[in-house]
Structure formats: C-alpha cells, structure tokens
C-alpha cells in the first residue's frame, strides 16, 4: 500500500499557542479578570469524613463587612445530580460524606474576608461512623453511606447492588472454574493499589457570572465544557442554553477536570450577590476535593497449560470508589471489558465491585483501572514464566490477542499491534530477559499494556473568510496540542498554509457539542468532525466551480487556493472568486461535520525500565526508561511523543511514591511536600518510539495516545525491581519503606530456612 505524502500531517509543527503559553499571556481560570472586578468566593468544606448536618447558621457571616452573599443547599433547587448515578448535591443538605464535602459558600470583597466569613458560619454536625476502607465498607454491620442507594436515578454505567456497593458488574466467557481443574498449574495472587491524585499544577478555579437576562456564564478550567455545563444547569434547575460554559486554558487535567467542582456555588453566589464571583481552590482544597484514581484490590487467579498458554483467569476487583459514585463508577462498566489486558484468554471472568467509602469521590484518571490491572497482569506474567521456566517474552507472544479478537463486551478489536509494539520496545531498549545484570542491585523489567482508545461524539463548523482563510469553530479544549493537530488536518484537507487556519476554543453557546479532552480521543473525535467539515466546504466550492470550469465535481481538485480540473492546471478559478460568487447565489460557504461514537480499538505499549535499588533504604533509582507505543498515525509527532514522556513520568510517580494517605478519616498529605510527584531529578530522559500503521478509522489513520502510555509503567518498574533484588512488592506505590521491608523479610526467610 502506497504511503500518502502529506503537507502537514505527520510534520513536527510547533504548537500554535506557543507564543501565548511561553510568554505568560495564556489566561487560565484564575487569571480571568473583568473590568468591574470580581468578588472572592470560598467554600466551606466538611471537616468530618461522615456526619449528619444538624443545622447551619450563616447570619454572623452574612453580617460581616465586605461579605456580599452566603449560599447553602437551600439556595438551590432540591435535586440530586451526578454523571452516572445521581447521588450527590452541589451543596450538602443533610449529610456530609468526606472531608472536603461542600456545605456552604461565601462571596466577599477580598479573599481574607471570605476566609473570615467561612469561620463565622456555624455548622452543627453529628459525626457518624466513618468507613475508610473498601473491605470495611463491605463487612456486615458497616455504616451505610447512602441508605437510599437503590432509589437513586441511574444515568449510565452504574448498577447499584445495595449496602455500600454503588455498582457491581461482571463479564465472562467460557467456564473458568471448570478450566482451572484441567490446567497444568494454577496461580493465585492479590495486588493492591492506593488512591492517587492527578496533581495537575493548576488548582481548580472558576468564575460565576449572573447575567441581566437571568442566564449564567461560568468560566472554568475543565476538560469537558459540555458535560460540565449540563451538570451545572441541572443543579441550578435551568435549561442547558441558560448556562454558557466558557472553558479557559487548563493547567493539566488527566481526567481530574471533568467533574463538577465549585462552579454551582460560584454561579449561585453570583446570582445572590449581583456580582461575578471567582472561586479558586488552594492546593490543600484541591487535594481534598479532587476526584482521585480509585484504590483497588485485585484478586487474580490464572491457569496455564504445559504448552505455555493462558487457559483460564478470574479477576475479582474491589474498587474504593469514595463518597459518591461520580465517574469512578464507570469502571464497573469498563473494567470487565478492558481488564483482559493484551491477552486472549479462552475462559475468563472479570468481576468488579465499586464500594462507597468516606474518602474523596473517585473519578477518571488517565486510563481508569488500566495501570492498576496491568500491574497485576504483567506481574503475573513474569511470576508464571519464572515458575514454569518459560521465557517471559515468548510466553507473552504466544498469548497476545490476535487481530479481530472479540472482547468480553462483544466488541471486535481492530488494529491490534501487540507484537509489532513489543518488537519495537525490545529493539529500542535492547532488553533480553536472560541477560546478566551489569551490577549488583540493578535490573531491567518489561511490561506490555494496552488501553482501548476510541472516540466519542463531536461536531465542528468550518467557515471560510472572503479571502479563503479558514476558521474552525470548535468547543474542544486544548491541553495537549490538539488545536495544532486540528489546524494541520484542516490545512491538509483544504491545501491551506497553517497560518491561514484559525482554531479557537469556543464556549458552549458558540460551538457545537464537543467531546471531552480526555479518554485519548479528542483528536480522533474532533479531528474527524473537522475533516468532515472541511470536506463539506470543499464540496460546496466544487459545486460553485462547476459552471465556471465546465467540469463535474468529480473531476475537480483544490490546490493552493484554486479549484481546478484534475490534470489541467490551466483550467482553474481562485477560491476568493468562488466565495464572492457564492454571496450572490447560495450564500456564505459554511461547512459542518458531525461524528458519532467510535468503536474502541486497543493502543499497545511495550516498556522497559532500568532500575538500581539501594537495599538498605529501599530507594529505587530509575536509570533508563524506553517506551514503544502504537499510535496509528502521529498527526503531530512532537505532541504524541510529549504524551508518552508525560504519561510515563506520571506512571513512575504512581509506581514509586504517590498515594493519598488517610489517618483517622482525614487525608494526611494534601500537599506537594508529602504527596510526592516526580521532579526533574527523579527521572531520566524518557526514550519513546512510535509504531505507526494507519488505524482503520480516524482522521488520517490517527489513534488515541493520551492514556495508553501510563498503563505498563508500574509493572515494568516492579518487574525491574524484581530483577534487581529478587523481591516483589504487590502494593503500589512501591515506596522505600515497603521495598525495604520486603527485602528484610526475604532476608529473614532465608536465614530461617538456612538455620533449619
């Protein structure tokens, strides 16, 4: 098949927003200012993990000079909201269920007065027993966090069971129990991962405005303006078109900026005070109220035959889902499909329970459930290979899913690049399992992971200006460089230079629906919509040119600002001339494109980590990291590589140092000192190689890239640690304390058996 030559697709084009980002001109949510100034809002958040609200008295706060408004649940329509399961309120009414749960909000002339006002609100709480662990929540007699669980409205994905199980689901094929009985050997282990926070550098911030016509305008740092707009409108009790959500630049999202945070409070304060109100979280609040990655317990049982095949597996997954279903509950729908990982297993059951606890409500975080389950799956592959005396790479190759593998959800998976990606990762790193370690306490580890990327629905409008330059009207938020890629797509399709294509993020009233800038599919989804819009524009130009060129549209092409007859470059008419003609005939040329949800396809990653362990302290130093990723076609390779670098380092944090620690019901480390994310001295340069084969669908063959690279990181590092010092820690993060303890216990075991 001939590889097409492109003008902009596949080129390393610099981001179109570089000038604004590199000079500090880019406006993030807290930077948004208004001519008349803004009021400063603060939210009163529950100090208890679980309590009944007996009374709220805000009179003293309201009376403080400089306080302009105070709102509570009573200022909002009585209704429950939620993206998947409607189990929460914008401001708590009767019950608070985690430290940080919103109880009231104030708006004042200065942040200092707002802070004083918070302290002047008297809330009488009746503390209730707090459940801080998923298994404790499942135990008989545990406090029930949502007594009305079975009355809540299910919007999507959730399948509440009752008690503290906010969702339960399982999928299977074959008969694992029967198959285990026939296996050469069966392995059983349990893995555990702790809750981790996105730790984007920009805390949540928003600005609420109540307009003279009774509508609202809300500026927010969000990855998904349309979903957020809907939640805000629902909570305020107004139709969607009465809330204009203006997305600002986003200082990192990773899934943590999809949910509703303080926007409803800001909007209600704006209405009550008559002034715009900014609510900007401080770092502590953002840690408390963010929507972290669920902690997970995975019981995994695997049966193999003597031929090296995976025959049967069961995975029983318990997710610590936090205080509300939020979007963490989506994992009960997705994990039974995705947690088969890169392999094809003929007898398989994956069961998931999402459990309420009095912790922050969990949400989406870069491949939700992926790193956790891959940690289990890829640790098992190495353990099994070692026990059976098999080469671990051959064991994987034998069992990877084939092209067209049908997932547990019945989806046929296409563009399966498992083997190619493995080869690329092994070539880049030079890794061979049998190689001797170059020094004591050094080792290399491999992991193969995949994440099913797809696309959700988006629409775009493309208009041509009179001179033939183009403006793409889109609501997709640009964090990763997607706007540059969209400009590349339009420039390629209409043969325009990049400077003649404008892409801006518009608000929810100005742009048609956009998918979220999350889930590895913004580029694919909005890119497809933009491409369709460009084709629609081109079609209209051809129709306008038919008469002038005396040729049917099928014989026409668009090149360098001219519509011309293919093969006869002399017969052409300039685009501005056609646009001028259009004004008198069919009207302005506007194109639109709409794309529905795509079927998911797997994106594979094959990673090799090189570590050095200090056995005395348990500290792990990452010496080298190689990542091969299967990307379809990289529309902008710089952006794609950047995603891989960033995802890997974020994954390193999850592997070695990040966890939200809770003591006595309270988060003990809501700050960057005690919640340690990798700094520049903690990681080496990340080496990435892109494996490209055009995906069957998607603009120019692109596939999603945001999430897949984080999936294999923890297992690659865990496997490297095992190669280095011969121990495994089956809990993430593999902190120095945990590793040191494991090394000592192994030492004590050896001494004990030596002394027998």
């Amino acid at each position: 098949m001939e590889t097409p030559t492109y003008t902009t697709i596949g080129k390393r084009i610099p981001r179109i927003d570089n000038a604004s980002k590199l000079t500090g001109q880019a406006r993030f949510a807290e930077d948004v200012s208004l001519p008349g100034g803004v009021l400063h809002g603060r939210v009163l958040r529950s100090p208890h993990p679980h309590a009944r609200i007996v009374s709220i008295d805000s009179r003293r706060a309201e009376g403080l000079p400089g306080v302009r408004a105070v709102v509570t649940a009573g200022d909002l329509p009585e209704r429950l909201i939620g993206k998947c399961l409607q189990d929460e309120r914008a401001l708590a009414k009767d019950t608070v269920r985690f430290v940080g749960d919103r109880v009231a909000a104030v708006a004042a002339d200065t942040p200092e007065i707002a802070g004083e006002a918070l302290e002047a609100i008297t809330v009488e709480y009746e503390p209730l027993p707090a459940v801080m662990d998923a298994f404790a929540a499942l135990a008989p007699g545990a406090a029930v966090l949502h007594p009305e669980l079975l009355q809540y409205r299910v919007v999507t994905a959730a399948a509440p069971e009752g008690g503290n199980v906010c969702s339960k689901n399982s999928l299977s094929r074959g008969d694992p129990e029967a198959a285990f009985g026939k296996c050469a050997r069966v392995f059983e282990h349990a893995y555990r991962t702790e809750m981790v926070h996105h730790a984007y550098l920009e805390p949540h911030a928003c600005l609420g405005i109540y307009n003279p016509d009774g509508s609202y305008t809300v500026h927010s740092t969000t990855q998904g303006s349309f979903g957020l707009r809907g939640l805000i409108a629902d909570a305020l009790g107004v139709p969607h078109n009465r809330v204009r959500l203006v997305p600002t630049e986003v200082g990192g999202g990773f899934g943590g900026k999809i949910s509703l945070q303080d926007e409803v409070a800001a909007a209600a304060l704006a209405r009550k005070s008559g002034r715009p109100v900014r609510i900007a979280m401080n770092r502590r609040e953002d840690f408390l109220c963010g929507t972290p990655r669920s902690g997970m317990h995975i019981a995994i049982k695997t049966g193999v035959n003597a031929e090296g095949e995976l025959v049967a597996r069961t995975m029983d997954i318990v997710l610590d889902s936090g205080a509300y279903a939020h979007s963490g509950v989506l994992m009960s729908w997705s994990l039974p499909q995705f947690a088969e990982g890169p392999y094809r297993i003929p007898n398989l059951r994956i069961a998931v329970r999402c459990v309420y606890t009095n912790k922050p409500p969990c949400g989406a975080f870069r491949a939700p459930g992926g790193p956790q389950t891959n940690f289990a799956i890829e640790s098992e592959m190495e353990r099994i290979a070692e026990a059976m005396g098999w080469d671990p790479l051959e064991f994987r190759r034998k069992n990877v899913m084939p092209e067209g593998h049908v997932s547990l959800a019945g989806v046929e998976l296409r563009n399966v690049m498992a083997l190619e990606t493995m080869d690329a990762g092994l070539e880049l790193s030079g890794y061979r399992p049998s190689e001797a370690s170059p020094a004591p306490n050094r080792g290399r580890g491999f992991a193969l992971g995949n994440w099913n990327v797809g696309g959700m629905a988006s629409a775009a409008v493309l208009k041509l200006n009179e001179d033939g330059s183009a403006s793409l009207l889109t609501g997709v938020v640009d964090i990763t460089g997607v706007h540059t890629a969209l400009a590349q797509i339009v420039a390629e399709a209409l043969d325009l230079p990049m400077e003649q294509v404008t892409v801006q993020t518009l608000d929810t009233e100005s742009a048609p629906h956009s998918t979220i800038s999350a889930g590895s599919q913004a580029l694919k989804s909005m890119g497809d919509a933009a491409l369709r819009a460009a084709h629609h524009v081109r079609e209209q130009l051809f129709d306008l040119a038919v008469e002038a060129l005396d040729a049917a549209p099928g014989r026409l092409e668009l090149v360098g600002g001219q519509v011309r007859v293919r093969g006869e470059p002399g017969r052409s008419v300039a685009v501005p001339a056609l646009l001028g003609k259009a004004m008198n005939v069919s009207g302005p040329v506007v194109g639109h494109g709409s794309t529905g949800a795509y079927k998911r396809m797997p994106g594979f990653g094959a990673h090799v980590a090189d570590v050095e362990v200090d056995p005395e302290t348990g500290q792990v130093r990452l010496l080298r990291y190689c990542a091969a990723q299967d990307v379809g076609v990289a529309i902008n390779p710089v952006a794609v590589e950047g995603q891989i670098h960033g995802a890997v380092v974020q994954g390193v944090g999850m592997a070695l140092s990040e966890e939200l620690i809770f003591r006595d019901g309270r988060m003990a480390n809501p700050n960057f000192l005690d919640y340690k994310i990798p700094s520049a001295t903690d990681v080496p340069p990340i080496e990435a190689v892109l494996v490209e084969r055009p995906a069957a669908d998607g603009p120019f063959g692109a596939k999603g890239i945001g999430e897949p690279p984080i999936v294999p990181v923890q297992a690659a590092i865990a496997n490297a640690i095992h190669a280095a010092v011969g121990v495994r820690v089956d809990t993430l993060p593999i902190t120095p304390e945990r590793l040191r303890r494991a090394i000592r216990e192994r030492g004590e075991e050896r001494n004990a058996s030596a002394n027998r």
Binding site: A19, Q25, L201
Partner: protein
Amino acid sequence: MHALELTVNGTPHTVEVASGTSLLTLLREQLELTGTKRGCEEGECGGCSVLLDGALVDSCLIFAVEAQGRAVTTVEGLGDPEHLSPLQQAFAETGASQCGFCIPGILIAATALLESHADPDDETIREGISGNLCRCTGYTRIVEAIRLAAQLRRSSG
C-alpha cells in the same frame, strides 16, 4: 498598609500593600501580571518562581515588602509574543510546553541557571529546575530546550 517601591521587569512601581501580602499576590492581583502562577503557595511547586535581584525565589514565600527597592523579573519580562527570547524560542522549537502552566516558572528557573552555567550538562539542568514541578511533559523536552538555549546563547556570544 505599607508603601512600597520596586522595579518589575524594568518598570518602577509605587504601590500600597496590606500586611502579609505575598510578592505573588502583589504581582498577580495589583500589578495584573498573571503570568506568574499560584500552584501551591507553600514553596513546593515552583509555579510562582520569579527572579529577585537575579536570584531564583518562590514569590509565594516572599512578603511583598521584602521587595522594597529591589528588582523583580517575571515571565513577562523575558519576552513577548512578537519577540520571543532565545530561551523561549528554544522551548517553541523543541516542543517543551504542553499545558503551559509550569512554563513561566520553568523559564525563570532556566534563566537563572543559564546566567551561571554557560554549558550545563543534563544533570545540572535537572538540578536547576528541580524546584519546578511539571506534570505534563515528563521533563524530557524541557531539558532538551534548555540545552538548546544554552547552545544558542553560546553561539550568539
């Protein structure tokens, strides 16, 4: 309230600040220079990095009054969209900025580093930006950009 005179990006300012106002708040709220970011207000993330008489500091940890009679440099003083500095150009060419939130602080830290190191190796560069957290880029391209900037500075004499 305290009267305060300071120079920011070469421009003298006379302002009044309330007790306890941080330099960060003065820059962002009163002088409307919002390029410097508020990431943690605890001196952990480096988003608020500025140069104070050429020294790299976290402006969230400095009281505004400590800047009395001193010169502050923020990202706005490094270049503007029509005239990117060589350092900013190196970042643009390398593709070192993703969400952009950490970038002002990182550019300030890099500026301080390059003033004292004409030819820093990777380890020195990483040490120089170790007080600036980035969650998007994994630091790989940022380090490449600073190395390129050092090269550009050396070749332009």
